[in-house]
């Protein structure tokens, strides 16, 4: 059987997730249940959504360093305005998505480095989040709470949601014509432009879509935690980038994989639980997380070598 290179790309993330899961089950057999799986993967849903948002930005060769503060801001809005006056909350979210589209336009028109613009935006979102919620608090909208704590039969919500996210974004990014040109912009924006597409519009649309998924991430996070604070999701910036890379995405060239990104996010979430099952002293937990990241990437390098060797043969 001949495997396509995109399938090979997915094997490593999937295999490392399976390995990690097997290790967790081995150490804590009780995790092998409906409730156990739900607990293990619950926090993965907002991370997966943020990772998808980051992946969209990376598909057009940019990087969003404001992801963490933006998700925090969305969480703050969701825990306050969206709950008390839904119409205002939705308006604010629409405005935020429009700002994302505008950032995309500005970056494209002025040929600015996305890292710096989003770095600046991270201060802005952080400031807005502090204004919305000066101290931790708020409460989740009832429907978000209901959605995140729903208990579908047989398979836990967290897994259903992850599969759903992966399927929907796989369709948008890999199967729709919009997704193909977006990845084309990452590969070679000049040729996309020559082919008659407006790269400005594409970039704006990509950023807006990324903003949309980040908003969903914020709402999902509040649905889980029931309250928010201005720093709730700061780690998401680095987690989302690491998730995309773990899932087989690349920084340049429009090479991204939505399914891989979701698996990457699940792996990162599981790594945290794995370490606490290992009874590693809290001092070294962050360090061990770094080590896991390195091991998975080393595995991926080995597989990439295999891939290129097959191509040259």
């Amino acid at each position: 059987m001949k495997l396509s290179s995109s399938t090979i790309r997915l094997i490593i993330p999937a295999a490392s997730l399976a390995l990690l899961l097997a290790a967790v089950f081995y150490m804590q057999p009780r995790a092998m249940s409906y409730t156990g799986l739900n607990l293990l993967f619950n926090l993965a849903v907002p991370i997966a959504l943020a990772t998808i948002a980051q992946m969209l930005i990376m598909a057009v060769n940019d990087l969003d360093l404001s992801m963490g503060t933006f998700v925090s801001f969305c969480a703050c809005v969701a825990a306050t305005l969206l709950q008390t006056s839904p119409a205002t909350g939705i308006l604010i979210f629409l405005g935020a998505i429009a700002v994302y589209a505008a950032i995309g336009v500005v970056i494209h028109v002025r040929q600015l480095p996305s890292i710096v613009v989003t770095l600046g935006m991270s201060f802005v979102w952080g400031g807005l989040a502090v204004l919305m919620l000066p101290s931790p608090g708020g409460s989740a909208p009832v429907w978000a709470r209901w959605l995140m704590t729903a208990k579908p039969p047989i398979v836990p919500m967290a897994i259903v949601a992850s599969i759903l996210i992966a399927a929907v974004t796989h369709f948008i990014v890999m199967r729709s014509s919009f997704g193909v040109v977006v990845r084309g912009v990452g590969g070679n924006d000049r040729s996309v432009e020559r082919a008659g597409w407006s790269v400005i519009r594409l970039r704006a649309a990509t950023y807006a879509l990324a903003g949309f998924f980040a908003v969903l991430s914020g709402i999902a996070l509040v649905g889980l935690t029931t309250s928010a604070d201005a720093n709730i999701a700061l780690r998401y910036t680095l987690l989302s980038i690491a998730g995309v890379i773990l899932g087989g995405g690349e920084f340049v060239g429009g090479k991204v994989s939505p399914i891989g990104a979701v698996i990457g996010a699940l792996t990162l979430t599981l790594a945290g639980s794995f370490l606490s099952f290992m009874r590693i002293s809290p001092d070294w937990q962050i360090g061990a997380q770094g080590a896991i990241l390195v091991v998975v990437l080393a595995l991926r390098l080995a597989l990439n070598r295999l891939e290129t060797r097959e191509k040259t043969q």
């Binding site: 002025r110 400031g127 690491a242 070294w284 360090g287 990437l297």
Partner: protein, 315 residues
Amino acid sequence: MNASRLFFARPWIWSFAATAVVWIITILFTGGASTIGLTQAALTFAAFSVIVGIGQMFVITLGPGNIDLSVPATMTLSGTLALKLMDVQDGLVFVGLLLAVGLGILVGIGNYTLIKLLRIPPIIATLSMSFVVQSTAIWANRGLRIKPPETLADFTTSSLLGIPNIALVALVLSALAWVLLEKSIYGRWISAIGQSTFAARMTGIPVDGTRFVTYALCAVLASVCGYLLASFSGGAALNMGAEYLLMSIAVVVIGGTAVAGGNSNIPGIWGASLFMFLVVSMLNTYGFGAGFRLILTGLIIIAVILLAGGRQSTR
């Protein structure tokens, strides 16, 4: 015509002009009461950003994707370990400094090993490394907060002829970095690599060696900065490096160094560091809350990059 050409040829003038404006506005608001105090504080705090900024600038010059995210963790670890080793003894000040330098070299070796051997993008490699370094710092920081040796604490907090000692140290380091960048073969090499790694390799430049030295240099500067900052603030804290992650990148970019690499600028780092500190203190004197202060800081970064970025694209 001449004046405008001067402006376009020297991007760092922008950051100094902006700094002067903010400085004057702040002074006017306080009625000139705090001129000396404000200037000294600005020089001191800018100096820390300058030291880490120079290291980050060398790394960014290497080209797209090169960035060192392990700066804050390295600062924390070096501050923690150096103070622990010196243990309030004046005789060990230089041993502590040596430890800081050695630690920086170690982190640099770790960073580049990951980048080279595992072919991991530098962002992820230095991020993973920073997790490990931060963990070591947490482990080492157990127990009481250790004070710096008295001579070192005095040195970092006092000033010479009205100029804070820390600023003088940063000035010497900047001068060395300028010589390294503009007058040495190493400086030509990193610019060449930043402009085109492939072409640099073809011309026989030792690309791997140069990149390794650059990552080591960045880690050493971060480490020395951590050593100085811990001595200045009377002890190491686990979060003492945190704000320098974004700061080190921001000052490099606002200072006029090309983010795509291959073109760097040391005077600009000074302008940008002073500017960033003065903006925050200006907003403080106007009595803005934390939220507004963050928003305005962000908008100012974006405004500066909008002005500066357009200039580069027309060239």
